[in-house]
């Protein structure tokens, strides 16, 4: 197990390198010049050249990449061109904001998904199952930026119950655990949770229905276990797969949703990415993508670990 852990951690290095090479070079494929966004239209040629040299954009791309990686390894992702602030601090704030949003979306979505999935699986084939399954299909099919706007129209515009955008009064992006701030998170969190809820519902429903149809459940009933006793067995059998799916969904949520964060002007990583793209802020863009990609790799590793602990059939040496 320990050896497996070490090996999996070592895998992160080549994966990380490949990911960083891809996200570094991809942004160069896009048209547009990062400096044109910050320079005045009538800037002199010398000024452009000087700025290029300052940012290192005059070097060949492989050299730029090498320098970038060397600094990234030391935890320095460069300076944002648009704001002039370090990418690290921009990213840190966005990540903490996205985590807040993801925390609520997960708590809500995973709980609801598990409950609905178990209900549909236990009453497989009944009208209850059909209602839940239809809801889940609707959930994965609905575009969430559209849903976000509809929710805003209903709850902010029509009823005026909840704020439409931002994460605090007056455009503040400081989080606090009080109703003043909580009311801002409700609509984006609900919007963001719809797809994970639906996916988890469907996965858990299929899992539970499959487990309940297996012979060993009959054997458990035959040895005198109560419904509650059998339920515990179902949970433990469903857990590894359900956890893997939840882990992947958690990865998506923590990555931040560009669309949902943009619709609600939530200053998280998704919002940061869209800003960086539109401003051609290469260091910010590269840094954010790299962080998200590595985070995803790490999360997958974590899910693998937990799965191994839960399911004895997955033996890793």
């Amino acid at each position: 197990m320990l050896l497996y852990l070490v090996r999996r951690l070592l895998y992160v290095i080549p994966i990380g390198l490949a990911v960083s090479a891809i996200c570094f070079s991809l942004v160069f494929l896009a048209p547009g010049d990062p400096l044109s966004a910050v320079l005045p239209a009538d800037a002199s040629l010398e000024l452009i050249e000087k700025l290029k040299a300052d940012y290192g954009f005059d070097r060949p791309i492989p050299v730029q990449f090498g320098k970038w990686v060397a600094r990234a390894v030391q935890g320095d992702l460069g300076i944002s061109i648009a704001t002039g602030r370090p990418v690290n601090s921009e990213l840190a704030r966005a990540i903490s904001n996205t985590f807040v949003l993801a925390f609520f979306a997960c708590s809500f979505g995973f709980t609801l998904g598990l409950v609905l999935g178990f209900i549909a699986g236990y009453w497989n084939g009944t009208w209850l199952d059909k209602v839940v399954t239809s809801l889940a299909v609707a959930g994965v099919s609905v575009p969430h930026y559209w849903l976000g706007m509809v929710l805003v129209i209903i709850f902010s515009v029509f009823f005026n119950w909840l704020p439409a955008t931002g994460m605090g009064a007056g455009g503040s992006s400081e989080w606090a655990w009080d109703w003043e701030h909580l009311q801002f998170v409700i609509l984006p969190a609900v919007t963001l949770s719809v797809i994970p809820t639906a996916i988890i519902t469907r996965t858990v429903r299929a899992l539970v229905a499959d487990i309940l149809s297996r012979e060993f459940v009959t054997a458990l009933i035959a040895k005198g276990l109560s419904d509650r006793g059998v339920f515990w067995h179902v949970v433990k059998n469903a857990a590894p797969t359900a956890l893997a799916v939840m882990g992947i969904q958690l990865g998506y949520l923590l990555g931040g949703s560009i669309l949902v964060e943009t619709v609600f002007a939530w200053p998280g990583t998704g919002f940061l990415l869209s800003v960086a793209i539109f401003q051609r802020d290469l260091p910010l863009l590269q840094g954010t993508i790299l962080f998200l990609a590595l985070f995803f790799v790490f999360l997958n590793l974590l899910v693998d670990m937990v799965q191994t602990l839960l399911d004895p059939r997955i033996r890793r040496t």
């Binding site: 009959t218 005198g224 433990k236």
Partner: protein, 329 residues
């Protein structure tokens, strides 16, 4: 528990009928099965796939899917009306008074719990002891079913054991709470021949030691002869013949039993063609009004098609449901 007369049989099943309903179709899996079983007696239920033998066992343990099946008739086990049990009483009955071993030991253990946990779970449920005592009992049972290095096997998962070993563990689980009746649903069918014999011998030995009654369902005539005191032959959801092993095997009275025995490979038949029964069993969704075997029977006459023949006792508790016997009597 209700008081029970000393001469009352342990098990008394009468007119047991099981129907499965599926989208407008009703399948008559068991059609009026009746039998008694004395304490310590081993009944071998012989029949082909779909003859209702497994369904009979499952009905006796009340583990058929409740919403898709209907069970009528009476089942009395150890003085209790099984079909009237519910809630905690039913859970005490399952695994406590009566337990079951299944055909596929791989599929009948929960794959994510150890063998020891699964036996201990049952022990704790029925014997009301703590975790440690339950584990000790599990170890004792694994030893009892002759699993080598039982202590280590206690923490093994089902997938880490061989088929024969798993079936031994299944037997340990079933017998851990000292049931009065063991239901064995083709427990040796999924095993290879050498392991089959070992499991049969073990079951026979444990049955004598525990003094329990056993209903052993099989499609294998040889296995039934090996383990049973009495044999019941099932066809299309009915018991067509029943009697002591010796009587039924030596002088089968029902044409189906005769056909079943003559289609079994035995040493003396080497080089001869096996006499198979022509045709196939009836559709259980559309049972004929008369003898279900009549369409395949070479002795069939008009009378056979009219009504289900009653059981005729040919002496010594040997009964068969065939009109020919009534004519002879």
């Amino acid at each position: 528990m209700e008081p029970r007369a000393p001469d009352e049989p342990l098990v008394s099943v009468s007119d047991l009928t099981v129907r499965f309903s599926r989208t407008g179709q009703t399948i008559q899996a068991v059609n009026g099965v009746s039998f008694d079983l004395a304490p310590g007696e081993v009944l071998g239920v012989l029949g082909e796939s779909g003859s209702g033998k497994s369904v009979t066992l499952r009905a006796m343990l009340r583990i058929l899917p409740a919403h898709r099946s209907s069970v009528t008739g009476t089942i009395r086990v150890a003085g209790r009306d099984v079909l009237a049990l519910s809630g905690a009483e039913l859970e005490d009955y399952r695994g406590g008074t009566v337990s079951m071993i299944f055909q596929e030991p791989m599929l009948s253990f929960d794959p994510v719990f150890t063998i020891g946990q699964q036996i201990a779970e049952s022990v704790r449920r029925h014997m009301k002891v703590d975790q440690q005592a339950a584990r000790a009992r599990a170890l004792e049972m694994l030893d009892r079913v002759q699993i080598p290095s039982a202590k280590r096997r206690l923490d093994a998962y089902p997938h880490e054991m061989s088929g024969g070993m798993r079936q031994r563990a299944m037997i340990a689980l079933a017998l851990a709470c000292k049931p009065k009746l063991l239901l064995a649903d083709e427990p040796t069918t999924a095993l290879d021949a050498t392991v089959q014999i070992q499991i049969l011998l073990l079951l026979r030995e444990l049955q004598r030691e525990f003094g329990m009654s056993v209903i052993f369902v099989t499609h294998d005539v040889g296995v039934a002869i090996e383990v049973a005191d009495r044999i019941a032959v099932m066809y299309a959801g009915r018991i067509v013949e029943t009697g002591s092993v010796r009587e039924v095997i030596r002088t089968p009275r029902h044409p189906y039993t005769q056909g079943l025995l003559s289609s079994t490979v035995r040493g003396e038949l080497r080089g001869q063609r096996i006499e198979a029964i022509p045709g196939s069993p009836p559709d259980l969704a559309a049972m004929p009004p008369g003898c279900a075997f009549a369409p395949r029977c070479k002795h069939a006459r008009d009378e056979c098609l009219r009504a289900v023949p009653g059981a005729v006792d040919v002496g010594g508790g040997h009964e068969a449901r065939c009109v020919l016997l009534k004519l002879a009597a």
